[in-house]
């Protein structure tokens, strides 16, 4: 076991020596990989930051029926009752939100409180919030909204969840896009490490020949190259996190100010530490894998 550790320590030493022997070339490779890695990392930061905001929003199939401002107080209740009786199979429930209830809900939101305080009276209408039943509500909601919009005392009908659903679809699209970018970057990592190891293997040809001559196993020969791939990948991933962190801190300075002007708090943040640790390990593993393939192909002499 001690011999095994000694050989790994030797391999790591050889790797670091080889990296140090060509500092500019090694640094250039690491920078290329880390900048490529920083792109999906920034994308992940945006998704990680936006996701909680979106998941807190209601995506249920809701339709709000707004009554005309001058409509009698009982018209909202009558509309709700008509919806329940005529479209009972299409809906789960229909509840009335009076203009007073709506105002008090808005006042509880600090972003609106100041604006509402300066208004002389309640500008909000009575409304009926309808929750649809079933799953195919996309086309059904449009049809129902068109019908209800023609009823007496109804001002207009709004599909509440539509924009949230659009936003979620956009996020799903961004997720897929991020996955594709990450795959592309993985190819960049594989190709860069493959080529680095190939160049190293060719320049270390004499050393490999000698090692084999004196009884080195193929594992012994390959080990420093695997470390080279893993170390290059690992350092690049850590640099990428650092670069993404720096970029986010600059972006956040402007973003926090912008969000505050809307009376809210929002900032972009990197994924959690566990996720980042996994990211470093994954890139290091990817580097080692690429090195393994490269060294097997380029040390057949």
């Amino acid at each position: 076991m001690k011999a095994w550790f000694r050989q790994h320590r030797y391999a790591l030493g050889v790797t670091l020596r080889r990296l140090a022997a060509q500092p500019f070339s090694s640094l250039a490779n690491i920078l290329v990989i880390s900048l490529a890695l920083a792109i999906p990392l920034l994308g992940a930061a945006v998704l990680v930051s936006v996701q909680p905001v979106v998941s807190n929003m209601s995506t249920g199939p809701e339709i709000t029926v707004f009554m005309k401002p001058g409509a009698p107080g009982a018209s909202a209740g009558a509309t709700a009752a008509r919806i329940e009786s005529e479209f009972g199979d299409d809906i789960l429930e229909a509840s009335v939100v009076s203009r007073d209830q709506a105002l008090s809900r808005l006042r509880s939101n600090p972003a609106w409180a100041d604006a509402l305080a300066v208004l002389p009276d309640n500008p909000l209408p009575d409304a009926v919030v309808v929750t649809l039943a079933g799953t195919d509500f996309a086309s059904r909601a449009t049809r129902l909204a068109a019908i209800w919009g023609t009823w007496k005392d109804v001002d207009h009908v709004q599909l509440d969840s539509e924009w949230v659903q659009r936003l979620q679809a956009l996020l799903r699209f961004a997720h897929i896009g991020l996955l594709l970018i990450a795959s592309g970057v993985a190819v960049v990592v594989l190709a860069t490490v493959f080529n680095t190891v190939r160049m190293q293997a060719l320049s270390q040809r004499e050393e490999i020949t000698v090692a084999r001559l004196v009884g080195a196993t193929e594992r012994f020969v390959r080990r420093p190259f695997l470390y080279l791939g893993a170390v290059t990948g690992g350092i690049s991933a850590m640099l990428a996190i650092l670069a993404a962190g720096l970029a986010l801190s600059l972006l956040n300075e402007a973003l926090i100010e912008l969000a505050r002007s809307y009376g809210t708090e929002f900032a972009l943040r990197l994924p959690q530490t566990e996720w980042l640790t996994l990211f470093v390990l994954l890139v290091a593993g990817l580097g080692a894998f690429s090195a393994r393939v490269s060294v097997s192909r380029n040390t057949r002499f």
């Binding site: 001690k2 011999a3 095994w4 000694r6 050989q7 030797y10 004499e206 050393e207 020949t209 000698v210 090692a211 084999r212 001559l213 004196v214 009884g215 080195a216 196993t217 193929e218 012994f220």
Partner: protein, 232 residues
């Protein structure tokens, strides 16, 4: 120790570097492999070291059948066979000491043992005081000595050398052969390829003569005292 049985080795169509070679070398023997350049001496030594496979026939080295030897087992055979090739394959980016240390790192020796053994090997070949020099800073004879030190540092049972005295003057060549004799005296089996007839004739040795891939086996008698006086 070394057994060749109807061994053939060809590198291309119809070019036999070795043809139907059969011989046996006992443990502790000192054998010269003689013959003109291109006769197949290097091929024979590489076959013994397991560096190349035979085209046909059976080779046993140190109790192992080289034809059946798996790629995983091959490195362990090489640890038992010290090899000094015509191209010494010394690493010029490392010191003489680090060159000798390498086989001990490969075999996983601890630092103290490795250092002590590398130092002893360097002293044994007469390179004490030149440990920090790089191979390129050493003379041809010293480079050969360094290659020998690297080959013997893992205490192999067999030592093979391909033209170790080529490009050396007579005195340096004699000193190299003396180093080999010292190892042979402690039981190391020696197989040395050379085309230097004067060197072969200088002592009683068994000789495997290779010519056009054919191997013949004979003993060179001890030179007469008159001949030795004449040479002196």
């Amino acid at each position: 120790m070394i057994e060749f049985s109807h061994v053939f080795k060809s590198y291309g169509r119809g070019v036999n570097a070795l043809a139907d070679a059969s011989f046996h070398v006992e443990a502790g023997e000192f054998v010269f492999v003689a013959g003109p350049s291109g006769a197949g001496k290097s091929t024979l030594l590489k076959l013994v070291a397991g560096l190349i496979p035979p085209s046909r026939g059976k080779i046993q080295v140190n109790g192992q059948d080289l034809v059946k030897l798996t790629p995983r087992a091959r490195p362990y055979l090489r640890r038992a066979v010290g090899v000094i090739l015509q191209n010494t394959h010394l690493l010029n980016d490392r010191s003489a000491f680090e060159n000798v240390l390498m086989p001990l790192i490969v075999t996983g020796h601890d630092h103290l043992t490795a250092t002590a053994r590398a130092r002893a090997a360097i002293e044994k070949v007469g390179l004490a005081g030149k440990e920090t020099r790089r191979p390129i800073e050493l003379s041809g004879g010293d480079q050969q000595r360094l290659a020998i030190a690297r080959a013997i540092v893992n205490r192999p049972a067999i030592l093979i050398a391909d033209e170790p005295t080529a490009n050396l003057d007579q005195a340096s060549a004699e000193r190299i052969i003396d180093v080999f004799r010292d190892f042979n005296r402690v039981g190391v089996t020696m197989l040395i390829a050379t085309h230097d007839q004067a060197l072969i004739a200088s002592h009683t040795h068994r000789v495997l003569h290779v010519d056009n891939g054919r191997v013949t086996d004979y003993i060179v008698p001890a030179p007469s005292k008159a001949a030795q006086r004449g040479a002196a």
